[in-house]
């Protein structure tokens, strides 16, 4: 898959795009992500390791409504993709969010594949397209 990604990035192939789309779709379904907002929130937590923050702050940083990020955080936590600490008593809605230690190996593999893909513009567009196609109403939540 990595080889295919490099070729896509270099605009050298068009034919395997369908295969690539299928792989991306498999990864997304595997980790259980259907919404673009979920992907963006997961990417934020993944990139920042552990984050002491609130849904509102993440929303401001990645350009979503606070409620959308709050919903995404809840769903990602239920899917054991991320974990959070108890809420801070001092600051409203602030918790420590981080990638779940209990995420299974297969999930980790899929997530890493998706992050590898999202490092190229072509990959990001494909991911965005896939997420929209998986759940057309996700467009309402997108930036």
């Amino acid at each position: 898959m990595i080889q295919i990604l490099h070729l896509v990035e270099a605009n050298l192939i068009t034919e395997p795009e369908q295969t690539l789309e299928l792989t991306v779709q498999t990864c997304l379904l595997g980790v259980g992500i259907t919404l673009l907002s979920e992907w963006d929130v997961l990417a934020f937590v993944y990139r920042h390791g552990a984050t002491l923050t609130s849904a509102g702050q993440i929303a401001r940083l990645i350009g979503y409504e606070s409620t959308v990020v709050g919903g995404a955080l809840d769903r990602l936590e239920r899917q054991k993709l991320i974990e959070s600490s108890r809420p801070s008593h001092g600051v409203h809605e602030v918790r420590i969010y981080r990638i779940s230690a209990s995420t299974n190996t297969e999930h980790r593999h899929w997530i890493q594949q998706l992050f590898g893909l999202s490092e190229s513009r072509a990959g990001r567009l494909l991911l965005e397209k896939q997420l929209k196609s998986v759940r057309p109403d996700a467009g309402n939540e997108a930036r």
Binding site: L52, T53, H89, G90, V94, R95
Partner: protein
């Protein structure tokens, strides 16, 4: 051995400047301009704490993406991801506002987290951002001060040794913030980054450190790939020596070079310093090589030759042509050769390397060949003088016999021993090597013009360089010129005058008569 109550930073060279470390639970402020290495210092403080002292750590970042921090650390060979997996390290990304409010909370989530992982160190990068939403008015500056006080109180309560970074700007507000933060911190480390000529120089200075003494002044800092930070103590910093350590000896050692031993009368004092002054090509390097080789072979002393001009291979080759085989001594480590290019010579780092070599190999004789190259490489007279003084002081402290070669620029006639560097008074012995023109040929001469505590000869003697190095021409067997040097006056002027009547008839006179 770790001193009780001190936190070692683990950063190479820093703990020795801090005379062992920083008092535990001190709040350390690392301040400096952009690109001076503040974040790296915090990162290494945490990394070394975990890997060398088993002290888990927490890093709080506001601006830097933790991913990039982890990536940059990889360049120094520090695997932060693995440390996070082992739960010995946690990098937490947050905003200054959340951090501020959260730490004010009586049951702070952050401090609870730190306690759970057993953190003993925390690095906050950078605390100046805690002031980002303040306009700079007196009331908000007061707010920042209060915030910092609360922050340090919270961290002290948890017995965390905290390091804060602070970007130093030039605006009035930034200066006020810097002063306020520096006042509240227990230890303040100032990092600098400035142009010196066309190169960049990094520096480190301990501005204050409550509860301890430290090496004051501006030290040199290097950032090295695959290694991290390294601090080099400024060369002129006074040595912290054991009061019992003698700095002079009544023991004399035969140098093994007859030119010196004959003229000084039985060798020079151990631990003395000798300046060998002479014009280019007169044989200073040969003498230095010979001193080290003889020391190694006959006195069993370990030697160090330092050169900014010649690569070790070239030194060995040139010595070989005179039958002075250095290869064996270099191979078995009894003689070390340190060559460093004079281009971009960093004097603090260079001095540290010399000291390291001396201590690692227990060097007892050292030859620095030569001081003139240092003058050119260092540029600043004050720094050059500091370097020289430091080497002399260090040599004395170790009772190491040290020779400095100095190239006198005057080819004909000497008006001063060291015209651009009048420090001949500091050394114990002064040897002058000259070229003298007699008839149409140049002759090499040597004189001992100073030898503290010794009854030395003031005669100027001719010497030759041949197989085995330098040797004095015997007084009675001086083949050329037809009369010995004693028949001349004004030899040091390099324009000698021959006495009208030969002082004695000897072998040389016989040669003259034969002619």
């Amino acid at each position: 051995m770790i001193k009780r109550g001190l936190t070692k930073t683990g950063i190479k060279g820093l703990d020795s400047i801090l005379l062992g470390g920083i008092p535990r639970a001190n709040v350390i402020l690392v301040q400096g301009p952009t690109g001076s290495g503040k974040t790296l210092m915090g990162l290494e403080f945490i990394y070394r704490g975990i890997t060398e002292f088993n002290e888990p750590g927490l890093i709080i970042v506001f601006e830097t993406n933790p991913d990039k921090l982890t990536r940059d650390a990889c360049g120094f060979g520090w695997d932060l991801e693995e440390l996070q997996r082992q739960k010995k390290l946690q990098i937490i990304f947050t905003s200054p506002e959340v951090f501020d409010q959260e730490l004010r909370s009586p049951d702070s989530l952050l401090l609870e987290f730190a306690s759970e992982m057993g953190a003993q160190r925390i690095f906050v990068d950078n605390v100046g951002l805690l002031n980002s939403d303040l306009s700079g008015s007196n009331s908000t500056r007061g707010g920042y001060r209060e915030l910092l006080q609360q922050l340090t109180e919270s961290l002290n309560r948890e017995n965390l040794t905290a390091m804060f970074s602070l970007e130093v700007g030039s605006s009035a507000d930034s200066i006020a913030i810097t002063e306020m933060t520096a006042f509240l911190a227990d230890t303040v480390i100032q990092l600098g980054r400035e142009r010196r000529g066309r190169r960049m120089h990094r520096s480190l200075e301990i501005v204050k450190s409550r509860g301890q003494d430290y090496e004051a002044g501006e030290h040199t800092m290097h950032i090295t790939d695959g290694e991290g930070l390294r601090i080099f103590r400024r060369v002129q910093a006074p040595l912290h020596s054991n009061a019992q350590q003698p700095t002079s000896s009544t023991m004399r050692s035969v140098i093994g070079v007859d030119a010196i031993d004959t003229l000084i009368g039985g060798g020079i004092f151990d631990g003395s310093t000798t300046m060998v002054v002479g014009v280019s090509g007169v044989g200073k390097t040969v003498l230095g090589t010979q001193i080290l080789r003889e020391g190694s072979l006959r006195q069993k002393t370990r030697g160090l030759l330092i050169s900014l001009d010649e690569h070790p291979a070239q030194i060995i080759r040139n010595a070989q042509t005179l039958g002075l085989n250095l290869e064996e001594q270099v191979a078995d480590g009894t003689i070390r050769i340190l060559f460093e290019s004079p281009q971009e010579l960093d004097v603090d780092a260079h001095y540290a390397r010399i000291v390291q070599l001396i201590e690692e190999h227990d060097v007892q004789r050292m030859v620095i060949d030569g001081m003139t190259s240092y003058s050119t490489a260092i540029g600043e007279v004050a720094v050059y003088r500091d370097f020289f003084h430091a080497i002399v002081a260090y040599s004395k402290q170790r009772l190491m016999t040290t020779f400095f070669n100095y190239e006198n620029p005057e080819f004909l006639g000497i008006s001063s021993y060291m015209p651009d560097f009048p420090l001949s008074s500091i050394v114990d012995n002064l040897i002058l090597m000259s070229l003298v023109e007699i008839n149409n040929s140049l002759h090499r001469c040597i004189s001992v013009v100073k030898s503290r505590g010794s009854k030395h000869s003031f005669d100027t003697r001719e010497f030759v360089i041949g197989q085995g190095g330098i040797s004095l021409v015997p007084l009675e067997q001086n083949p050329i010129p037809a009369v010995p040097l004693q028949s001349y006056s004004s030899l040091l002027s390099r324009a000698p005058t021959r006495f009208s009547v030969p002082k004695r008839t000897n072998g040389a006179a016989a040669v003259q008569a034969k002619e």
